[in-house]
Symmetry: none
Amino acid sequence: MSPTGTRVRDAAIELFAERGFHGTGIRDLAERAGLSSATLYHYMGTKEDLLVSIMTESLGRLVEAGERLTTADPLTRIIGLVELHVLTHAMRRLETRVVDDEMRSLSPARRKAVVALRDRYEALWQDAIDAGVADGVFHVRAPRVARLALLEMCGGIARWYTPDGPIPLEDLALRYAEMALGVLGVAGPPPPLDVDTVRRTRALVDEIW
Amino acid sequence: MSPTGTRVRDAAIELFAERGFHGTGIRDLAERAGLSSATLYHYMGTKEDLLVSIMTESLGRLVEAGERLTTADPLTRIIGLVELHVLTHAMRRLETRVVDDEMRSLSPARRKAVVALRDRYEALWQDAIDAGVADGVFHVRAPRVARLALLEMCGGIARWYTPDGPIPLEDLALRYAEMALGVLGVAGPPPPLDVDTVRRTRALVDEIW
Amino acid sequence: MSPTGTRVRDAAIELFAERGFHGTGIRDLAERAGLSSATLYHYMGTKEDLLVSIMTESLGRLVEAGERLTTADPLTRIIGLVELHVLTHAMRRLETRVVDDEMRSLSPARRKAVVALRDRYEALWQDAIDAGVADGVFHVRAPRVARLALLEMCGGIARWYTPDGPIPLEDLALRYAEMALGVLGVAGPPPPLDVDTVRRTRALVDEIW
Amino acid sequence: MSPTGTRVRDAAIELFAERGFHGTGIRDLAERAGLSSATLYHYMGTKEDLLVSIMTESLGRLVEAGERLTTADPLTRIIGLVELHVLTHAMRRLETRVVDDEMRSLSPARRKAVVALRDRYEALWQDAIDAGVADGVFHVRAPRVARLALLEMCGGIARWYTPDGPIPLEDLALRYAEMALGVLGVAGPPPPLDVDTVRRTRALVDEIW
DNA sequence: AATGAATGAGGCTTCATTCAT
DNA sequence: TATGAATGAAGCCTCATTCAT
């Protein structure tokens, strides 16, 4: 993408995240990107097209990364997914917030494809949870509820994370992994829960973003 | 409040929850309430006043209910808070979504008071968690992160709950309580985790709403 | 219709006739009607709705008047139709110009109904012509072409007529009737071609408009 | 003119005729001509310049052809003018429609010259009609009205003609000539009304266009 | 010869709000 | 209590045009 195109995109991510899609005007976008509002339209279709492309790209990357983790055993998988989710929601907090919050702003026609992508991603979580329950390593009585709870819990970091906080991001990822295992009823801190795993997940994130 | 006033309020809750504050027009509100848009202004101040009053009332009740739970020991308290949060977010899912999602739509001037109320509520959680950690009954390495994670996890039910689902609400509250204790590193299912406690919490909700 | 509604309508008729639909801006309409452009929208739907309603009403009246003439013999009928067409295009020259010129400005969806109405009206002409040919009173070798030529010829008066001109309108109607009979190959001026007939047709116009 | 210049011109004729001047955007023109909208400006001045040049050239040719017919007697002249008008409006229906319909789209400054050209052309008609009336070969009571009616009638062919129709163009020209003589009150089919005359007029058209 | 980038002005329409009745 | 009428500001988007490359 051209540098200006990137500026438009970045402006949209910032503003949609801060003020919401409907709270962001075309003039706001133009001002943030340093363009006239007419020029904006050289770099996007409609405002909704811009939103869709942001969501699609972000979710697409998340799906791609998530699918790389599906080969491992359920425990390793869920740890990887938690780390992936937490890291991306911290490192890309603006665009992930847009994905998580602005689904409702899409027109039905455009929503379909985005929801399908999100469902693919959530299915990775559900599969890992179900497999862990089947293996007896997770103990939850309502696996679907657990998935929803975990996604909400881990994604929540995008609502408050800043790199200036007292806890380094890799440690935060570990804390979330511990909490997630608690949610899933895993007894005691299992071996894969160390910083090296987090770093491997982070490398994955860096590769795909 | 007059019956018509209630209709306006309910319409606003529904629409703000579904489409967001900026996605909802005065005309939408009027139509949903069965009034002309001019008449609307007999029952509200500005659109933002309406939002503020919805948020203030909802949060006010949550705070009031939460403060009734502060006498118990940390474990009982956190269980009560989780149940309270889950029950209200399920039973009043629209208005709680408005509270959770539309803070950013408030002008700075109006936001202050609402944020203060929310902070009071969240402090109840933080106090309970910190007390539990001090007592050695909770085992978390980042108590502030745990609070944020728990609130996000429990409030998330408002994004998907419907009374038609397969799991009765009281059971859901129990599941969330179990997951919360997992997050907090509590070992084994403790005594207060039964349906009677949920029912007591529900009675509290019914009393205050 | 409310007085203001009528002002909006009249402004639209004037401007659409003078500058065309696409050459008329919403601000032009508002200014001509003495309103703000926002207020305009209390009295119309979209700009296209306004155009459609003008065309539909005008054509509707023309059809209604035309259908009152279908009982007579072909010669009397065609004379009546010519007089009707000429009188309306002179007396209502602006709205008839809009009807005749702005069909192409309608979106396909809206065009359908208007074209159907116009076709109904033109069928009255074709039927009269065909009947006259069958009766041997008209002598034309291409009746469809004659219809098109006559309509164009008679409607053309809307492009130049002004009440201040040297020839009174009723005389103009007679001149057009004479020319029309010439087009249709009728030999010699037939009896019904006098001012009394024109006055009867004019009474019909006055009744229906 | 360069081939590309011709493409631009042809695109403009098509679109101005179909959608009107104000209904045609620069982008539409560019797309139809297969160029970018910036490149368009290498082949034209402003959009209005393009319109003016189309109208001027078309009218100029009409005037030139019309003036070749002024030597004959009134009857032959009017027949020639009718044939010329009908043939050009059928063979060049798009550009003649632009001439006939888009005069109002010209700014006053540019309109003057075009109107002058049109007036020169219409004077040819008026002169022929007046001469015929003076000679006693035409019988019309309002010669100016007859001119307006004839021009409208004959030019109308541009609104519906297609080469695929059931009647060959030369026959159409004859039909229009017959109708025109009817309008002018000429008794009986006079000698010059045959296909050979039409062919001569057609040759004139082919020479000048 | 050709175009991507740029823009001020304006396109149509809706916004939240007020006020006289 | 209720609303039709009214509006300045703003909504998203396209306009015709210019210019550096």
